[in-house]
């Protein structure tokens, strides 16, 4: 177990160090989030629609579309000088590689979530009336499941010709439960509903993430092995 965690830690450290030095994915995801917020700021007529009614949906769509920009490049970074073959020929189990990739992607997407919340609060003046910890729970559970699926499918598409174009086509249908319950939970918390009011959403999102993580860890070996 100690070896397993050391290997996962090494891969997460490597991914985050590379991201800090290149800003390859965070710059694309961050620019997208800010752009969406700015565009909707000018596009929505506030005399007709209250921003709070739209905010939850817009936040989730920005996270999903922005997140896919980053997740799509998960394994593209490993193509440099055959580096991924170096990992595959190491004694690191395939499920450990998957969990490490999910962990580093999850941390990057949490940063995206914070940025998205910040820009939406800034441009739409949306106030969180409900429990902020519950909001964090809804967003992080949803993002965890999304990251697990996105990471798995990024491994599927990285060596295909269509690559990053194919990823959303494959992933979107599977994300429907996450988006539906994520938007519902977020919107209720924006409206000031108590934690017990979003328990159902939290449970579905937790179950969704657990299934995505376990199935991803099991299936990943079939994705990377010839």
């Amino acid at each position: 177990m100690k070896d397993y965690l050391r290997q996962v830690g090494a891969l997460v450290w490597k991914d985050l160090t590379l991201e800090l030095r290149t800003w390859d994915r965070m710059s694309a995801m961050g620019a997208f989030a800010v752009l969406v917020a700015v565009l909707f700021h000018y596009a929505v007529d506030r005399t007709v629609i209250h921003p709070r009614e739209l905010a939850a949906g817009l936040i989730w769509l920005t996270i999903v579309f922005g997140g896919l920009l980053g997740l799509g490049r998960t394994f593209a970074l490993e193509e440099e000088d055959g580096a991924f073959d170096g990992i595959l020929t190491s004694p690191m189990p395939k499920d450990a590689i998957f969990l490490a990739k999910v962990s580093s992607n999850f941390l990057l997407l949490l940063l995206l979530v914070l940025l998205v919340l910040f820009v939406f609060v800034l441009f739409f003046q949306v106030a969180v009336r409900g429990n902020p910890f519950a909001l964090f729970g809804v967003l992080s559970l949803g993002v965890l499941g999304f990251t697990a699926l996105g990471t798995l499918y990024s491994g599927v598409t990285v060596r295909t010709r269509m690559g990053e174009t194919l990823l959303p086509v494959l992933v979107f249908p599977l994300l429907i439960p996450m988006v539906v319950f994520g938007v519902r939970g977020t919107s209720l918390l924006f409206a000031g509903v108590s934690v017990s009011g979003v328990e159902g959403s939290l449970r579905v999102l937790g179950g969704f993430s657990l299934v995505a993580l376990l199935s991803g860890a099991f299936l990943f070996r079939f994705v990377v092995e010839d």
Partner: protein
């Protein structure tokens, strides 16, 4: 061809002097790998004793790199078996991969990490004990100790390949697989790498070298194989090669094998 090892064991055996690292024989029997209708490796059998270096020559598409990937554990065989010290390689064999080091023309290095960080990363994947000391040792061995804290993207092709060799040997593997290690190197860098590779002939490591270059391949070889269409058209001691120009012999073997295959 030699007989398979007589003494099956659980893994590479350790010498009494632990500084000298593990020893392992490699036994391949009826190895097959297909890609659809193509048999990239077609029933290969050979045994390598600890310390032996086998050079595999062959034309493009002969299945040489596929053979190395099968030995490395990166590919699963469609048939046959591979044993190290009598222990059969199984699917997803983590211990097998711990005993093997692979260097190809691709270095597996990250340009945005420093040389030391690259080695530290791979060292942690392989669970190398006393890692920091080992990194210093390896960097010194490939004459890169002064460049250890520089990002690899600023390295020349030759320096990258030397660092790739340091990465390959970091965990002191019993079996070393070299896939066209000289590709893309200029004469000076190739000569420097050749000197470093000759240190692999320490009587401990079992080495398989795949190359197109007959002269470079023969310099280090104990045994020579010529692979054509997935099969060994020739396998013998390097000392038994006929006298005279080796490229004429190579062409003859390849042409004969291709003719037989028609």
């Amino acid at each position: 061809m030699t007989a398979p090892p007589a003494r099956p064991a659980k893994g590479p055996r350790e010498r009494s002097d632990s500084e000298q690292g593990p020893l392992a024989s490699l036994d391949v029997r009826g190895l097959v790998r297909t890609f659809g209708p193509i048999r990239a490796v077609d029933g290969l059998s050979f045994t390598l004793h600890p310390g032996e270096l086998l050079t595999v020559f062959g034309p493009n598409g002969a299945g040489k790199s596929t053979l190395l990937n099968l030995l490395a554990g990166a590919l699963q065989p469609s048939g046959g078996e591979v044993r190290m010290e009598g222990r059969l390689r199984s699917h997803g064999d983590v211990e097998w991969r711990r005993s093997v080091g692979i260097l190809s023309h691709r270095t597996f290095l990250y340009g945005h990490l420093t040389a030391r960080e690259n080695l530290r990363f791979y060292g942690r994947l392989f669970g190398v004990p006393h890692l920091e000391e080992r990194i210093v040792e390896r960097l010194e061995a490939v004459e890169l100790e002064r460049r250890g804290d520089e990002p690899v993207r600023g390295f020349s092709r030759g320096m990258r390949q030397r660092l790739g060799l340091a990465r390959t040997l970091l965990h002191d593997p019993a079996i070393v697989l070299l896939d066209e290690p000289y590709t893309g190197l200029d004469v000076h860098a190739a000569s420097l790498l050749r000197e470093l590779l000759s240190s692999l002939k320490d009587g401990r490591r079992t080495v398989v070298l795949v190359t197109h270059d007959l002269n470079q391949g023969l310099e280090l070889a104990d045994r020579v194989a010529i692979q054509v269409r997935g099969r060994f058209a020739h396998l013998d001691q390097a000392a038994h090669l006929p006298s005279g120009p080796v490229d004429a012999f190579y062409r003859e073997v390849v042409e004969e094998a291709l003719e037989e295959g028609r």
